[in-house]
């Protein structure tokens, strides 16, 4: 058993030495309790629905989410809008389809099977509309940033007056969590910017939390089933390991050498 202890300590050493390397920038992110962390972590359904509202009313005017479909909004483990609600959401967007039998492209209301409609036709158009900066696609944004959800959550609340020794160009803003502190996105949230249907007070903090939760789901849509399956798998493995351990002891008791 001593061996195994050694083995685990080596594993832990490797992991810690590795994860240290990603924490190079030393900024303390704002901490909050995420419902989806931990062994049994699940998304807060209401927060996901509010987060979708923030995304679609605020972020979506610049940021695409090209890997998501409207049907995802009704799927288990997500915001779990009813199918009728998801259909209504989809139908509120104009989708370009075609070509039809005349060879013409046409627009129609969105369907569940459609991907989220993108705010710009292409990267160049997005850059042209945003002073040269490309608002990144948000589908996997949380996984594409070192600090993950904590980083996004902090960034949304990290806008401040620039210190006097920092000069900012036009269209550049100061954010204490942004790498290099300069960001091309103006503070996207302000208190009361959206009106939540469930009566939740739409503070910047609340909206940041909701939209970050939504982004976590969009990056890991199967997070809940992953956690559930993981728990079962590990419990199963532990039970099996214990059983095999005792059979091993029994088998090895036939020879005098100790295992």
């Amino acid at each position: 058993m001593k061996n195994l202890f050694k083995l685990f300590s080596i594993i832990i050493l490797i992991i810690t030495s590795n994860s240290n390397s990603f924490a190079a920038e030393k900024v303390e992110y704002i901490k909050t309790d995420w419902s989806f962390k931990g062994l049994f972590g699940k998304f807060d359904r209401a927060s996901l629905q509010r987060g979708y509202q923030v995304y679609t009313e605020v972020c979506a005017s610049c940021h695409s989410m090209k890997y998501l479909s409207y049907r995802n909004l009704a799927e288990p483990g997500g915001p779990e809008f009813s199918e009728a609600q998801a259909k209504a959401i989809a139908a509120s967007f104009e989708v370009t389809d075609g070509p039809n039998s005349d060879g013409e492209m046409f627009t129609r209301p969105g369907k569940l099977s459609d991907k989220f409609v993108m705010p710009y036709d292409n990267v160049k158009a997005a850059q042209a509309a945003n002073g040269g900066a490309y608002p990144p696609d948000m589908s996997v944004l949380v996984k594409a940033r070192g600090g993950g959800v904590d980083y996004i959550y902090s960034l949304l609340q990290g806008y401040e007056e620039a210190p006097s020794n920092v000069s900012l160009d036009d269209g550049v803003y100061y954010n204490k969590y942004m790498y290099g502190n300069k960001i091309r996105m103006a503070a996207p949230l302000s208190d009361g910017l959206v009106e939540y249907g469930d009566g939740t007070n739409a503070t910047v903090e609340q909206m940041s939390k909701d939209v970050t939760t939504f982004l976590m789901w969009s990056a890991e849509p199967h997070l809940e089933s992953r956690h559930q399956m993981g728990f079962k798998a590990i419990v199963y493995l532990i039970i099996l390991t214990v059983l095999v351990y005792f059979s091993m002891k029994r088998i090895w008791s036939r020879v005098e050498s100790e295992v």
Binding site: K2, N3, L4, L7, F8, I10, I11, L13, I14, I15, S17, N18, S19, N20, S21, F22, A24, L39, Y67, N72, P136, S139, V140, K143, A144, R145, G146, G148, Y179, A219, E220, P221, H222, R226, H227, M229, G230, F231, A233, I234, L237, I238, L240, T241, V244, Y245, S247, M248, I251, W252, V255, S257, V259
Partner: protein
């Protein structure tokens, strides 16, 4: 013939009965290889090897393919687990002198497998076509440009163009698909070659087989390997289900963009020590040579180590140098992940120098200078007429267990 050997390996192959848990990693590695092949085949059914579609097809796997997330996370973390196991396997061999006569062939086949694993892992990391995929591929393929005269030509030939692009991706995919089967074949040879001399053991002495010193592989080693494998799978499952992205780099979730270079280009953790060696040499060509030598030096290890005694249990000095080497490699791994500047660069240089010093100077000299402890005559029978040496040996053994 090899197949018969394999069947025999799982049944009555006589195995030293004092094998400790460090010997279970051969079985664990076989499990890793099979897991990678099975999950890899499944992923290949859904993956599209095209520069414009690869990233999207990976997202398709993660979102829309039934249990695609599970298969991909097993495959991605499986690579890390594979390397974790192979490093333990290699360092076990270093500690107990398993590479020494008469097992040089097994060792050399092992080094070739390790090289192929690195190639497969590197090319596999390129396939999702994220930022780290693209820039990692650019950095590594550019190493070949250090070759005098023909370097540039070779790089163009590797790329299939004038930059890392679609032709590079498709050929990497093809090779990534091919290499595991080469590894599989070599694993068969590795086990076949093992059957000629039989297993080494923690005492490192030759044993008569079958004898009182051995047990049949089944059921004794099968159950022990099985137990260790299950322990390993618990760690594996933890990563897959609860920390699937912790060993990867966040930048690889950004689609490859030739116009934007990431702030730090780092390889996966298991290649970091060699990356540190590469960067510690100021000259590009010499850096590449140093990196390759760091791996290839292992192939001649059986002849660099001049000691007749295999196990470090009876080599008090070697044992200390062994642990220094382990620390040295971990340090190299750490600085490999850091920017190559200032103190980190200095540490990398010292650690690189020590790495070569260990193999080229310390090991050969140690074989002549070291005063080794008396070695028992067999595993079961006490030593040299039951002298106190046995007690010493036993003590030593239990210490490392």
């Amino acid at each position: 013939m090899p197949l018969l050997t394999l069947a025999n390996h799982l049944t009555d192959y006589p195995t030293p009965k004092n094998l400790n848990y460090w010997w279970t990693f051969g079985g664990i590695l076989t499990f890793c290889l099979i897991t990678q092949i099975v999950t890899g085949l499944t992923l290949a059914m859904h993956y599209i090897a095209h520069a414009d579609m690869a990233f999207e097809s990976v997202e398709h796997i993660m979102r829309d393919v039934n249990y695609g997330w599970l298969i991909r996370y097993i495959h991605a973390n499986g690579a890390s687990m594979f390397f974790l196991a192979v490093y333990i396997h290699i360092f076990r061999s270093l500690f107990y002198g398993s590479y020494k006569a008469p097992r040089e062939i097994i060792w050399i086949i092992g080094i070739i497998i390790y090289l192929l694993m690195m190639a497969a892992a590197f090319m596999g990391y390129v396939l999702p076509w994220g930022q780290m995929s693209f820039w990692g591929a650019t950095v590594i393929t550019n190493l070949f440009s250090a070759i005098p005269l023909v370097g540039e030509g070779i790089v163009t030939w590797l790329w299939g163009g004038y930059s890392v692009d679609n032709p590079t991706l498709t050929r990497f995919f093809t090779l990534h698909y091919l290499i595991p089967f080469l590894i599989l074949g070599l694993v068969v040879l590795h086990i076949w070659a093992l059957h000629v001399p039989g297993n080494n053991n923690p005492i490192g002495i030759d044993i008569k087989k079958p004898s009182k010193d051995t047990v049949p592989f089944h059921p004794y080693i099968v159950i022990k390997d099985g137990f260790a494998l299950l322990m390993f799978m618990i760690v594996f499952a933890f990563f897959v289900f609860y920390a699937p992205n912790i060993l990867g780099h966040a930048d690889n979730y950004i689609e490859a963009n030739p116009m934007v270079t990431p702030a730090h280009i780092v390889p996966e953790w298991y290649l970091l020590p060699f990356y540190a060696i590469l960067r510690s040499v100021p000259d590009k060509l010499l850096g590449v040579v140093a990196m390759l030598s760091a791996i290839l030096i292992l192939a001649v290890l059986p002849w660099l180590d001049t000691s007749k005694i295999r196990s470090a249990v009876f080599r008090p000095l070697y044992k200390q140098f062994y642990w220094i080497l382990v620390a040295d490699v971990l340090i190299l791994g750490y600085v490999g992940a850091m920017p190559a500047e200032g103190l980190y660069l200095l540490i990398a240089r010292v650690a690189t120098a020590y790495y070569f010093l260990h193999f080229l100077v310390i090991l050969p000299v140690l074989g002549f200078k070291e005063k080794t402890l008396p070695v028992p005559l067999s595993i079961t029978e006490p030593v040299l007429g039951g002298s106190p040496n046995l007690a010493a040996a036993r003590n030593k053994e239990s210490k490392i267990e």
